[in-house]
């Protein structure tokens, strides 16, 4: 009687313990997901507006006199022409009542400085437009853009907002006349960095990251795989290889900034390689990624059953044939996954690149591995560090682009793993 009672209690306790454990597990998972969700949503909220840009419709006359170039129409002269003047003329036509110099300056500030470059490109493409009058949608300035997107409220006190009462009045007039439009911001995906938020784009950083990772991959993948194969399959077990093994494991845990210092001391100061270049960044990141790739590749090789090696050796394959015909192909998915995870880490790395000057302001889009460049995470850092409010959304948009690439790389890892996995 008492025995079965004790048994009942024990049973109930066991069920309770199981239930409790499940609740703990679900809570932990849910809170993890919650944090992730909050992070992604806040990035989306801040960043989504960067993908759209306000444009103002203006009637522009390509007047050689305003352009101050006389009768020359060659590209060289046009590059130095006064296109800003054309926009000012167009704005004054829209608002003839504004005459005061200070007020005029405020009026001009509604249109982006980049608008002049847009007109310049148009005229260079078709010099026949000289003297003609056409309507163009020109990019608004960052503050105007924020107002159009509703991020500057006219209800706020004047000194607390970037636009004056007058500017807001003009902006509202332009809007009610249908001369303001929010469009997809193609420039964000095609241009480099800029001091003007409305002109700043991510493309320079994307290409910088691309060249940097190219160098990293070219150096660390073959080196890492070959080192792993040698250490795992061929190297004798002795104190020297033990020491190497310990060192590789330690290197994987070295803070990345240390690799940056190494790059600064060795590649820049000693070998005098170019500053801010993807070449140096790539080499530094390759050093950082190498241990990760080696460790992953060795784990993949270790997971290949020894019976496969025995089978190959027993039919008279040489150790090299055994590895390259049988072991390495089986380990390939694991090796590729390790390499891609290493690459993804390199893509998100900032600290070591700061040390070798990849943090400079670079407006030009890099055309090779030796051009000055920056990379995605550093670009995000630079924008986060800028005082203009409009850079906030650029930063969040940059994070989205970076996350997009990271997700894409992980998907590639999954697909490759699936493709090369021999299930038999």
């Amino acid at each position: 009687m008492t025995d079965s009672l004790a048994n009942d209690i024990r049973l109930r306790r066991r069920y309770q313990a199981e239930r409790r454990f499940r609740i703990y597990g679900i809570t932990a998972t849910a809170s993890g997901l919650l944090f992730l969700g909050v992070m992604l949503v806040s990035i989306l909220i801040i960043g989504h507006s960067a993908f759209r840009q306000s444009f103002i419709k203006l009637d522009v006359t390509f007047d050689p006199e305003v352009l101050q170039i006389g009768d020359k129409t060659d590209e060289e002269s046009l590059r130095y022409a006064h296109f800003q003047g054309l926009i000012r003329v167009a704005l004054r036509e829209k608002f003839p009542e504004v005459t005061d110099r200070r007020e005029l300056r405020e009026l001009y500030a509604l249109v982006s400085r980049g608008a002049a470059d847009v007109l310049c490109e148009i005229l260079i493409d078709d010099p026949g437009l000289m003297g003609q009058r056409h309507t163009y949608w020109l990019p608004a300035s960052d503050d105007m853009d924020l107002f159009v997107k509703g991020e500057i409220k006219s209800s706020a006190p004047e000194i607390e907002r970037q636009l004056s009462d007058r500017q807001i009045e003009w902006a509202e007039r332009l809007t009610s006349d249908g001369l303001v439009d929010l469009r997809f911001n193609t420039a964000f995906f095609t241009t480099g960095d800029s001091r003007e938020p409305e002109l700043a784009g991510i493309w320079g950083a994307v290409k910088g990251s691309f060249y940097t990772l190219l160098v990293t991959l070219a150096l660390s993948f073959p080196t890492g795989i070959l080192a792993a194969i040698y250490l795992q399959e061929f190297a004798p077990k002795n104190p020297v290889t033990d020491l190497i093994e310990v060192n590789i494991n330690n290197l994987a845990a070295v803070p990345s900034i240390v690799f940056g210092l190494l790059g600064l001391a060795v590649f820049l100061n000693f070998f005098h390689m170019p500053r801010s270049a993807p070449l140096v960044g790539g080499v530094v990141l390759a050093l950082m990624t190498l241990p990760v790739i080696i460790i992953a590749a060795r784990a993949a090789l270790l997971a290949v059953p020894p019976s496969i090696r025995e089978a190959a050796l027993a039919v008279g394959a040489t150790p090299m044939q055994t590895v390259f015909h049988h072991v390495a192909p089986l380990a390939l998915p694991g090796m590729l996954t390790g390499a891609i995870i290493g690459m993804a880490r390199a893509l998100g790395e900032t600290a070591p690149l700061l040390m070798i000057g990849m943090v400079a302001f670079i407006a030009d889009i890099p055309q090779g591995v030796t051009d000055p460049a920056t990379v995605l995470p550093v670009q995000i850092f630079l924008w986060a560090d800028s005082p203009e409010r409009a850079f906030m959304s650029k930063m969040a948009a940059g994070i989205m682009v970076l996350l997009g690439f990271l997700i894409a790389m992980n998907l590639i890892a999954v697909v490759l793993r699936h493709r090369f996995e021999q299930k038999w």
Binding site: S307, R309, A314, V315, G316, L330, W424
Partner: protein, 264 residues
């Protein structure tokens, strides 16, 4: 055929392999001591003995698979056709082409059935052309008694076969290299009785062309397939002789105890 018949009928069999004073160490641990054994040509020699007595170790000496084990050291002399296989100028790869091996657990390559068999001939350059290789693969599968079951799916993965079929595929893979000697380490221990019977039958057929050394933990199997038996105990070769003599009239008490089931 007449050749094979002559071989199986003749009572005198030349010693294909001779082991003299073989000691094997794993690090400091001595696994075999002073083994002296002759393996007659075109016969099946069974190595029996309790688990851990060194049967596999001895078998792996014959194709130098022990070379790949860290810390394993072999002393003494082992000759095949009179040539020392541990001589300095002996190429291990060539030795393993002459001495095939079948393992305890079937271990086909994770490739097609065809590729499994074709791999050995390919790396040894045994078939100059596509046609010759095809013939060699088919012939080997035929000899391993597998062709009938797999002729229409040579491109299927070798690992999709049943355990017994996989083991016969491994035998086909070994004989495709045209070895002189085939080593089998408990080839049936992972198989059901029907698959085991098939392999035993196969071993008996293979004897006409190859010299076979088989390790087995089953005394019935040793009695069924082998002509010679060697009994190992605690790293020593206790007794060797014709299978009939070992099982009916063992000279050593330990052999007697083992075959009657008192040790092992």
């Amino acid at each position: 055929m007449s050749q094979a018949l002559k071989h199986s009928l003749s009572t005198e069999h030349r010693a294909k392999v001779q082991a003299r004073g073989v000691n094997v160490y794993y690090g400091d641990k001595k696994a075999l001591s002073g083994i002296g054994l002759d393996i007659p040509e075109h016969q099946v020699s069974a190595l029996i003995g309790p688990s851990g007595c060194g049967k596999s170790t001895f078998l792996r000496c014959l194709n130098r698979m022990n070379d790949i084990i860290e810390g394993c050291r072999v002393e003494g002399a082992i000759t095949i056709d009179g040539a020392d296989i541990y001589a300095k100028d002996q190429d291990v790869v060539q030795l393993r082409a002459r001495v095939g091996m079948v393992f305890q657990k079937p271990n086909p390559f994770p490739k097609s059935i065809y590729e499994n068999v074709a791999y050995g001939p390919r790396i040894h350059g045994l078939a100059p052309g596509r046609k010759e290789l095809d013939d060699l693969v088919r012939d080997s599968l035929e000899r391993a008694g597998l062709m009938g079951e797999v002729h229409d799916r040579l491109d299927h993965p070798g690992t999709s076969l049943s355990g017994g079929q996989q083991q016969r595929l491994c035998i086909a893979r070994a004989i495709a290299v045209k070895p002189e000697l085939i080593l089998m380490d408990e080839p049936c221990s992972a198989l059901d009785p029907i698959a085991t019977a098939k392999i035993e039958e196969l071993i008996d057929e293979l004897r006409t062309r190859f010299t076979i050394v088989i390790v087995t933990h089953s005394m019935q199997q040793a009695a069924r397939v082998s002509q010679r038996t060697a009994f190992f105990h605690m790293g020593e070769l206790v007794e060797t002789g014709s299978t009939e003599q070992i099982f009916t009239n063992p000279k050593d008490d330990r052999t007697q105890a083992y075959i009657t089931g008192r040790i092992g």
